[in-house]
């Protein structure tokens, strides 16, 4: 759905995006992670034809961007760096105006499509109110509604849960998962690890303009080769697993044994009561930190 090769953007002396090879596949919920200022937004803007790449190539929905913008972008819904709307007009009027712009928004179905998306994002009751009177969360939802107006094949969302309360975040997450189930590919740019970890199937990590990691979330969150055991009989267990216990936190032991089932059998056999037991997995935070740190070491100029 999105494929870039050696995508590079230079703003004067600053290399904002440096040779990025993105690969977002159909059906992905792709988490595009990176610290503030790492080049995420610039990349998103290049994908949408707002910022012109210094070098490199991009394909979105299989067509070259920005050349094929006119046929690609009507199938893409986007939320870039926060929502924006005309404050003196109502939410509905804003959506109608936005839909009337550019190709791909037939006026015949406009009214019903607007009703649909307002319902989806939970703004049905306030659609006729002026946007100037909307809260930050409501504006965010309106931005999402605008992105969904033409039932896009690809959603490009930059920090979509900004300004939402926990309840709103859960609703939006539910909405995105629903869209994904119906076949929408989602490209989610975020600096919130937890959000990406909960939602995404694939992850790319950008660090100071360079893509340092890109893989399936399940692969990244592989077992670490250690097993986490929780037991009231800490001392017995330690004696039994002599030398294999790496760390102890109160009633929890981190054991250097990859096979959780075998470890369980061994403990139970020795009469150790087990409260909890399971393989330890890398957290996304650890993976991201590791990726960005090695890059720091390798990429630092002498």
């Amino acid at each position: 759905m999105i494929r870039t090769s050696r995508l590079t953007k230079r703003f004067g002396p600053v290399l904002a995006v440096d040779g990025v090879d993105l690969d977002v596949r159909e059906g992905d919920i792709y988490g595009f992670l990176g610290a503030n200022g790492s080049g995420k937004t610039t990349t998103v803007r290049m994908l949408l034809g707002l910022v012109l790449a210094t070098s490199g190539e991009m394909q979105v929905l299989g067509q070259p961007m920005p050349k094929a913008a006119r046929s690609v972008l009507p199938q893409v819904g986007a939320l870039v760096e926060g929502p924006a709307a005309y404050g003196h007009l109502s939410g509905r009027t804003n959506l109608a105006l936005v839909d009337a712009m550019g190709p791909g928004g037939p006026s015949r179905t406009r009214g019903s499509r607007i009703d649909d998306v307002l319902e989806q994002v939970g703004l049905a009751d306030v659609g006729r109110r002026k946007v100037g009177a909307y809260s930050l969360g409501m504006r965010q939802r309106l931005g999402l509604a605008a992105a969904l107006l033409r039932t896009p094949r690809l959603l490009v969302l930059d920090e979509p849960t900004n300004g939402l309360d926990p309840q709103g975040i859960r609703e939006i997450r539910g909405l995105l998962l629903g869209l994904h189930e119906r076949g929408t590919t989602i490209f989610l740019s975020s600096h919130l690890l937890a959000e990406v970890e909960q939602l995404c199937t694939r992850v790319g990590v950008l660090d100071r303009g360079r893509l340092v990691l890109q893989d399936e979330l399940a692969t990244l969150r592989a077992p670490t080769g250690r097993t986490l055991v929780r037991t009231p009989d800490v001392e017995t267990a330690r004696a039994l697993l002599d030398g294999q216990v790496e760390q102890r936190f109160a009633d929890r032991l981190l054991v250097r044994v990859p096979d959780a089932a075998a470890l369980n059998a061994r403990l139970v056999h020795a009469g150790v009561r087990v409260t909890e037991l399971g393989p330890e997995r890398w957290t996304l935070e650890q993976v991201v930190l590791a990726a960005t740190e090695t890059d720091q070491g390798a990429g630092r100029p002498a």
Binding site: L50, V80, E81, A84, L89, V98, A146
Partner: protein, 268 residues
């Protein structure tokens, strides 16, 4: 896209407030003239104003001459300066462009909407002035030309329409400049003020004898030449020069605006 831009312009409260304010000054002048009966002596004050006490049908032209030097350019500069920069500042520009709306198309639509604004403003000013002049000011049947001979009502109408076209073209020069500046900044205020600074500089140089060589090329040089359309016979020389000069300014600034906007990184 042109229809969308027109809707946006017409639905903005600011558009109508601006037009009402534009209209207020000449109307106030008419009321004052009618109440006091103190017209400026011929040859002083805004063009035509000395004549309107006896002939109210000339008041639309007097009204245009009143708003043209400052009020109308300010309004046009504000609207045109806001066109791209204002959308950039509110963030709506990026959403318009990813719809997608081609950049050339957007610029064209903005220009058309500014032209529409100028036409509406000029027509409202002229229309109100016609009513006001008819009701409050002198109603002698024969309209007199600036040259002292008489013009038939039909001649007055034709020449008034020509004047409206000429004023619109003059304002298009301002609009093109403000539109160009609007593509260079995210601040609508900076674009509008930049355009005005250019016009003020031009007006200032027109009063300076040392700038004589520059004067035929200054954008405001021929603005008031529409008065010549009311001479008998029409004195075309300055009107034609004004049209050509504005056409050059419009062409140059639109080309610059287009070149800048279509190759620009939209980072707002």
């Amino acid at each position: 896209m042109i229809a969308v831009e027109l809707r946006k312009m017409l639905r903005r409260p600011r558009t109508w407030v601006t037009i009402v304010l534009l209209d207020a000054l000449p109307t106030l002048v008419a009321v004052l003239l009618a109440l006091t009966d103190l017209g400026p002596r011929p040859g002083t004050g805004p063009a035509f104003l000395s004549a309107v006490l006896s002939d109210g049908t000339l008041f639309p032209l007097a009204a245009l001459a009143i708003v043209l030097p400052l009020f109308l350019p300010v309004a046009v500069a504000v609207i045109a300066g806001d066109s791209i920069a204002g959308e950039a500042a509110t963030g709506t520009l990026r959403y318009v462009l990813v719809r997608p709306v081609g950049r050339t198309r957007l610029l064209t639509a903005k220009l058309v909407s500014v032209i529409a604004f100028v036409l509406i403003a000029v027509l409202v000013v002229a229309g109100t002035a016609y009513l006001v002049g008819h009701l409050l000011l002198g109603n002698q049947p024969l309209a007199s030309s600036v040259s002292g001979t008489s013009l038939t009502p039909q001649q007055v109408l034709e020449r008034t329409l020509l004047s409206i076209g000429y004023v619109t073209l003059s304002m298009l020069g301002v609009a093109a400049l403000a539109l160009f500046l609007s593509t260079t900044t995210d601040s609508a205020l900076a674009a509008a003020l930049g355009a005005l600074a250019f016009l003020i500089a031009s007006s200032l140089l027109l009063t300076l004898d040392a700038a004589h060589a520059l004067q035929p090329y200054l954008p405001t040089r021929y603005w008031l030449s529409f008065v010549d359309l009311f001479r008998d016979p029409i004195l075309w020389r300055d009107v034609v020069r004004g049209v050509l000069l504005q056409a050059v300014y419009v062409g140059v600034f639109l080309a610059a605006g287009w070149a800048n906007f279509t190759t620009k990184d939209i980072t707002s």
